[in-house]
């Protein structure tokens, strides 16, 4: 009897998983689009003082010493840019991706257009959802953050950073798109370089910003699907008119 009960439970689980996958796929239109389910991570620490140093970053990928590295160090080294942890690691820009994958277990996805499906949107702030996105010969970091800028009023902030220099970042445009309940919200911008601090991009509000009520309108059963597309930059049509 117990055996049959367990079998029935397993079948129910499979049906539930299949249903979740189907829901994730149907959120965006492109049939072949890769859907990546991203689970939340509670930020262990926000380190604003690290950002103050990052603001002085130069075009060469050289950052001033971190506040947690008082010793003399190689100016070509970049501190860990993972926004989740106050991580003591530093290394060259070229090895940031492998550090993020290996140490922080951040997934990397291929493809010009993907769907980022952030689960458990109801979790309290601060919470982050992070993936890396490999596209057009470069790697990008997508950060969705739930944060209380005004106490008691959590908001969602989404931005894309290039794992490269600001000059390289200027060659691209990224688009984030939400589409549900007969509403559509699109944000297009030039990605910021990972040498700039993700915390300051979010505190400046220079990214896609969602109030909780709008996030709920775009969510489906506690999950928010964000369509992501990256293209090589072209001057925005209106500005070309100038």
């Amino acid at each position: 009897m117990l055996f049959f009960t367990q079998c029935f439970g397993a079948v129910l689980d499979l049906i539930h998983l299949r249903f979740q996958h189907y829901k994730a796929k149907r959120v965006f239109s492109a049939a072949g689009q890769l859907v990546c389910v991203v689970n939340p991570t509670h930020s262990l620490k926000y380190a604003p003082t690290r950002c103050a140093a990052a603001q002085a970053s130069t075009e060469q990928g050289i950052l001033p010493p971190c506040h947690h590295h008082e010793a003399v160090h190689d100016p070509q080294l970049v501190p860990c840019t993972c926004p989740l942890f106050s991580c003591p690691w530093e290394g060259h820009l070229e090895v940031v991706v492998s550090h993020l994958r290996q140490t922080h277990r951040i997934s990397i996805l291929q493809g010009a257009e993907i769907v980022f499906l952030a689960t458990d949107m109801h979790l309290p702030a601060p919470t982050d959802w992070i993936i890396m996105h490999s596209c057009l010969g470069h790697q990008f970091l997508l950060v969705l953050r739930k944060q209380e800028k005004y106490e008691g009023h959590p908001q969602f902030f989404a931005t894309m950073m290039l794992i490269g220099t600001p000059t390289q970042a200027n060659n691209f445009t990224y688009r984030l798109e939400l589409n549900r309940n007969q509403r559509r919200l699109k944000w297009e911008a030039t990605p910021r370089s990972i040498l700039e601090c993700v915390d300051s991009v979010i505190s400046d509000g220079d990214c896609l910003v969602l109030n909780t009520s709008l996030a709920q309108l775009f969510s489906d059963n506690g999950s928010l699907a964000i369509g992501i597309a990256i293209t090589t930059s072209k001057v925005h049509s209106s500005e070309a008119e100038m």
Copy 2:
């Protein structure tokens, strides 16, 4: 001497006006697009109790009595929907447009695509920028509101309402687009009927919402240009996939 000084002043004013017009025209790409400069209006009164009644609106365009009309009244009458004033007027839906034009001096513009140029974005909340938009055989009311939902943190809310019933509103899709500084933000939704209350649409956050920092990024010398387009509804592609 005074005459020459005054002439010089007048020439400077003309140059300034010409420059403002040029700036307004170049914000959006379509060369033939109509640019409407909209000056702000300080809201004289927000009347949330009026909205509570409006929530109970029916498909027939019948609204329950306003709190300021205690007398028996014709249930076919609609109270004044102008969000600026607590106006005692009420009349049939068909004459709302002429009331808004004549009594509240709200401009009406023709064309499927227009540019709404809201001036003096720095003015303190609460402030409204309002126009009517005539398109596809119907009239729409565009409301941009600066309001402090969280004390000390003003935000901008933009929405479009059909001067018609909810069923008529379901036949349309409106798009609001901001485009400046290599950033683009688009909001697409079904317009709400003017029988629903604009105050409740804004307090629900079911509209385009801009933080002050983002509004500044999209502004040019204190003016915010919003591209507006209205189309007849089609099911959003992603939802057609379901």
